[in-house]
């Protein structure tokens, strides 16, 4: 037989994808290795041929989730020449779209795959905690870079970029937590413009050189 692609080769891939879907939709503890294997069409022995443990699989899942998050959310939102405010809006819009899409499939808002695992496992597994922490720091990096560009362009006043970016990430995590808890993606839309307020000014008395920036006012 020449190179006739049987079903082989993609076993590890299928396990990874199944784990990504199932753990994201439910939780780490509520998805067993057995179910995982059935979903992937793989026997348990094969699972342990590719992954030393469920925990290691989860770390691999986090890597892939971050890859997907970058290409589906962070790059589209931030790899452009839009003003900072628009980038943040786009980011939240993509969060919203993602949660909506997931809800239309399962009826449930799944929240953030990183926040979910962080709160479930941070106190139980140091390696996973660190991994999630690294992901959140990389996310923060996107915001930080965009802020520095915005400051260089005179878009926003000089300020503590690290603190502000951290606040944005925290706020985004909070938004997705609330959306999941209310099972309503609309929460993210409602909170969207709040993110802009976390940017404008730095610590008291530290900001100057405001150019032509506008200030929006809610009703």
């Amino acid at each position: 037989m020449p190179t006739v692609t049987t079903t082989t080769g993609d076993t590890k891939e299928r396990i990874l994808n199944s784990a990504l879907d199932l753990i994201y939709a439910r939780s780490y503890a509520n998805v067993g290795v057995q179910e995982l294997c059935e979903h992937a069409g793989v026997k348990k022995g094969s699972f342990y041929h590719f992954f030393p443990s469920k925990r290691d699989l989860t770390i691999a899942v986090l890597d892939r989730q971050w890859m997907l998050a970058k290409q589906r959310i962070w790059d589209p939102a931030f790899k452009n020449r839009l003003p900072l405010g628009e980038k943040l809006q786009r980011c939240f819009d993509l969060f919203y779209d993602n949660q909506c899409g997931a809800k239309h499939k399962s009826g449930l808002v799944p929240g953030c795959p990183f926040g979910n695992l962080a709160l479930e496992l941070s106190t139980q597994d140091e390696a996973i905690r660190r991994k999630v922490d690294a992901v959140l720091q990389e996310s923060s990096g996107y915001v930080k870079r965009a802020m520095n560009e915005a400051i260089a362009a005179g878009e926003i006043p000089k300020q503590d970029v690290d603190a502000a970016a951290g606040a944005i990430i925290a706020y985004a995590q909070g938004a997705m937590l609330m959306a999941k808890t209310r099972n309503d993606p609309g929460v993210i839309k409602e909170l969207r413009q709040g993110a802009l307020r976390l940017i404008h000014a730095g610590p008291p008395g530290a900001s100057k050189a405001r150019s032509r920036n506008e200030k929006r006012k809610a009703v």
Copy 2:
């Protein structure tokens, strides 16, 4: 013998307290009924005499957690005549103190008991999801009331109080998620003043005579 309470009927109480501690420190799924009973010094049969299931126990735990949160955090922070900004600062300070205290005992930042259960169980148990949602809405109520008072007192300009209070709660949840993920309560302190930016308020400390003169920008 007069009514001498010997072993005292505190069994249910002990179960509740043990569950509160253990589930908060780890997670719902990672604490078994057996371990729970051992920690409480109770046999499993007694457990099921008082609680029909682990899930119901968890809902009772949520009720108690909210009672404690009110009396330890929300009432102290908001049941006073301080300006809104100070109330919010106090709230975050209490979050910080709580996380610090917990960390000094176990070495781990436990995060928010409500956020934790929300992200772990919202997609698996509708009753628990609703319960946490109700708690978060009550929290939001504290902020909302304080904001309305502040508006009435001319402390801050008129604004969409519901949206702003929701943003504050989301931000607080995000702050505690980040603190847990970094295993560092200091994150909460760093994010503290960001909360002030989520409402239309003057610079921190200038809590007087800042009514509606937002049209003219200062500096």
